[in-house]
């Protein structure tokens, strides 16, 4: 991935997703202007093949973009839309404009109604790409009865369509048997978002520890505080590596177990990092006014979204129990080495 490309995206996010703008969206304001800036930038077609007028990047090459979205806690589904567009292109469906959330655990039929529960970014999306029993479907959010606000400031929404909406588009499953499905796509996005937000929380915590003075010295000079921040740094580095592993793919589609590993390890790191961030910031971090909460709240939200650490650890563990050709270490080598570019 070209650094200039990433830098341009970082600059864009600095302009359109400054903490005040994120705070406004969290508070219920529209994210449309923010989205328009991203749509115009052209980054959303990064994973679409060049033949279909995309940039034809691999997921590994797109990692820095997804990571940047996490660092800025971008409150719109940038990575999901990027992956959904590649998915739709592979299925021969033209992508509509607007943000697309992914309902990886599917849409359920209930008494004729269609129900997608706890869709991450459901509140700031125009579309939801969801798996059904057999295939997938692209559903318009506007025609759903949306229930959000379960979690204050959260971006999730439970969406219910009384009947199949007219604008719904059927999408054939483009990936082969055993390849990543929508659950894995959503998992990868959230893994990298966590890694990016963690990076920002660590940076804020280091800043604060270097400024706040107690007992006549910066609190970062105290061993007990240094010990905490070192643990935080270790988990931040581990989360970033896990997110890179999740994105390690020679194509746009993640490797399914890589996605599972990435989400599990990042989700496990998320509360550790959030908790230490708060421990160091003291009461200041608990205030609504201070920006730390924009990042730590998202760390906790994204940990649960698209499956928590135990869910995906279970997926990894089941695969290992099943694959009797391998012991644990040879399984790790065969499944979690960097993909050949």
């Amino acid at each position: 991935m070209d650094d200039m490309f990433t830098d341009a995206f970082e600059r864009l996010l600095g302009q359109i997703a400054a903490p005040a703008a994120v705070r406004a969206v969290d508070g219920g304001a529209s994210a449309e202007a923010m989205w328009d800036g991203i749509e115009e930038s052209g980054f959303l077609d990064a994973l679409v093949p060049e033949a279909a007028v995309g940039a034809g990047l691999t997921l590994a090459q797109a990692f820095p973009l997804l990571f940047a979205a996490g660092r800025h806690v971008l409150p719109v589904p940038f990575g999901q839309t990027m992956l959904a567009r590649a998915w739709l292109d592979a299925a021969g469906v033209a992508s509509p404009p607007g943000p697309i959330a992914i309902a990886g655990f599917g849409v359920k039929r209930q008494d004729g109604a269609w129900l997608a529960r706890d869709v991450s970014f459901g509140r700031t999306s125009r579309w939801v790409l969801a798996s059904t029993d057999t295939d997938c479907v692209l559903l318009p959010v506007a025609s759903a009865q949306a229930q959000h606000g379960d979690v204050p400031g959260g971006l999730g929404a439970t969406l219910c369509w009384p009947a199949r909406p007219g604008e719904a588009m059927d999408v054939a499953m483009p990936s082969a048997e055993g390849a990543a499905g929508l659950a894995e796509l959503d998992a990868v996005c959230h893994a990298v978002l966590i890694a990016g937000a963690a990076d920002r929380v660590l940076a804020m915590t280091l800043d604060y520890a270097g400024q706040r003075t107690q007992f006549g010295k910066h609190i970062g000079r105290f061993q007990a505080v240094q010990n905490q921040i070192s643990i935080m740094a270790e988990h931040t580095w581990a989360a970033r590596m896990a997110a890179q592993l999740a994105c390690s793919s020679a194509g746009w589609l993640p490797r399914p177990l890589g996605a599972a590993l990435g989400k599990s390890r990042c989700a496990e790191a998320a509360p550790v990092i959030a908790d230490i961030g708060h421990a160091v910031h003291g009461a200041m971090g608990i205030t609504n006014e201070f920006d730390l909460q924009l990042y730590t709240r998202r760390l906790r939200e994204w940990r649960l979204a698209a499956g928590s650490e135990s869910y995906w650890a279970g997926v990894v563990g089941e695969a290992l129990l099943r694959d009797t050709r391998h012991g644990a270490l040879s399984f790790i080598r065969s499944q979690f080495s960097m993909e050949q570019a």
Partner: protein, 383 residues
């Protein structure tokens, strides 16, 4: 700030080593009981080390002119991963191969290289590292063992403790004071190579809680060292020791110390058929930790291969690596005891018991957890 760790792929030419090593281990190591294999790089077998040497697997990264294979750090990663993953008894040559050889190559005179390196590659020179002293553990700069220059060389007095393999090695590379006093801290420290067969030297093995004697106390009573005992620059020992640490702290031996137990438990779960599925999540959790640490360790290896000295990144890998090494026996102890009606084989129980006893040492050896976190904090700019 600490450097980003980039995901790195092991080069194909180094991966190609794996099959031959695996084949050899199948015949020599896989048949050993798991609680013996669990000793891994604490397991001492000079004959096994010589067999590896015969196959060209010692001194992999040392130049061909000194008897090595002239390969890079990635090759050594692959070899180490196979040896440790199988639980091979590599202790005899481990320190010479990992640390002493590269140190002598970097700081040694041509004569020192010609003398020691071929012997290391032939498994004829086993090394230990003399760091801690009775009153100097984590506070290493306070050491008091002293080498005094004489007209014909050096006279060494003092003692070392917790020295792994001192009683069964040929040489020690000791960090000693050659000038100044304890209060001078890092200044005035030097590294010397001590022939452990010299008169005036006493080695007393210390038995550990698992019943093994892998470390020792060493006493120097007017030990006469030749002038070329000094390795590197007089007074620069502290910097030399720290340069070694990137090699010592980032390797697979800081991640895989409990791997034999994990493999044994995996087999135990599989043998339970459907009932074994209930352990999928804790099993998967350990796997995610190991896989991420492996990727981090390979990434640090890539920095070494580029000639960098990623000391802080290596420290981070070691602290997190020893955490999973300690997590495995802790978690499995609970799980195995949670189903009293499922019989656990004696060998799996012995493997667990060994690792439960020894796991605390994983975050002591090679720098304690508390010291490492201080180093990480310094890397983050906090001190």
């Amino acid at each position: 700030m600490i450097d980003m760790l980039e995901l790195t792929r092991l080069p194909d030419e180094d991966e190609a080593l794996r099959d031959a090593i695996r084949e050899f281990l199948r015949e020599t190591v896989d048949t050993l009981p798991p609680d013996v294999r669990a000793r891994s790089w604490m397991g001492f077998d000079a004959g096994f080390s010589r067999e590896l040497a015969r196959r060209g697997w010692l001194g992999l990264t040392l130049p061909v002119e000194f008897g090595g294979a002239g390969k890079g750090p990635f090759a050594r990663f692959v070899l180490s991963e196979e040896l440790l993953g199988a639980g091979a008894p590599v202790s005899a040559h481990w320190i010479a191969d990992r640390q002493s050889g590269p140190l002598i190559l970097k700081y040694g005179t041509q004569d020192q290289k010609r003398f020691y390196l071929p012997r290391i590659c032939r498994a004829e020179a086993f090394f230990c590292i003399g760091m801690s002293e009775p009153d100097s553990g984590s506070d290493l700069a306070s050491i008091r063992t002293r080498a005094v220059r004489t007209g014909t060389g050096w006279t060494l007095n003092g003692s070392k403790i917790w020295t792994t393999n001192a009683h069964r090695s040929h040489y020690m590379i000791a960090l000693v004071r050659t000038s100044g006093e304890s209060a001078d801290r890092h200044k005035g420290l030097s590294q010397v190579i001590v022939d452990l067969s010299l008169p005036g030297l006493t080695v007393r093995p210390i038995r550990d809680i698992a019943g093994d004697a892998h470390f020792s106390e060493v006493f120097f009573d007017n030990v006469v060292l030749p002038p070329d005992a000094l390795i590197g620059i007089e007074g620069d020992g502290w910097n030399q020791v720290n340069a070694e640490l990137a090699f010592e702290r980032s390797g697979p031996e800081r991640v895989y110390s409990s791997i034999v137990l994990l493999e044994g438990w995996l087999a135990h779960c599989r043998a339970q058929g459907q009932a074994g599925q209930q352990y999928a999540a804790p099993l998967g959790r350990i796997v995610t930790w190991l896989a991420v640490l492996r990727a981090m360790s390979i990434s640090v290896t890539a920095k070494l291969a580029r000639g960098e000295s990623p000391a802080i990144e290596a420290t981070l890998v070691k602290d997190l690596g020893t955490e999973v090494e300690q997590m495995i026996p802790r978690v499995l102890g609970d799980i195995l005891g949670a189903s009293p009606d499922v019989p656990v084989s004696a060998s799996l129980r012995r493997t667990l018991a060994y690792l439960e006893q020894m796991a605390p040492s994983f975050s002591l050896r090679g720098g304690t957890r508390e010291i490492l976190r201080g180093i990480i904090a310094r890397g983050l700019g906090l001190r």
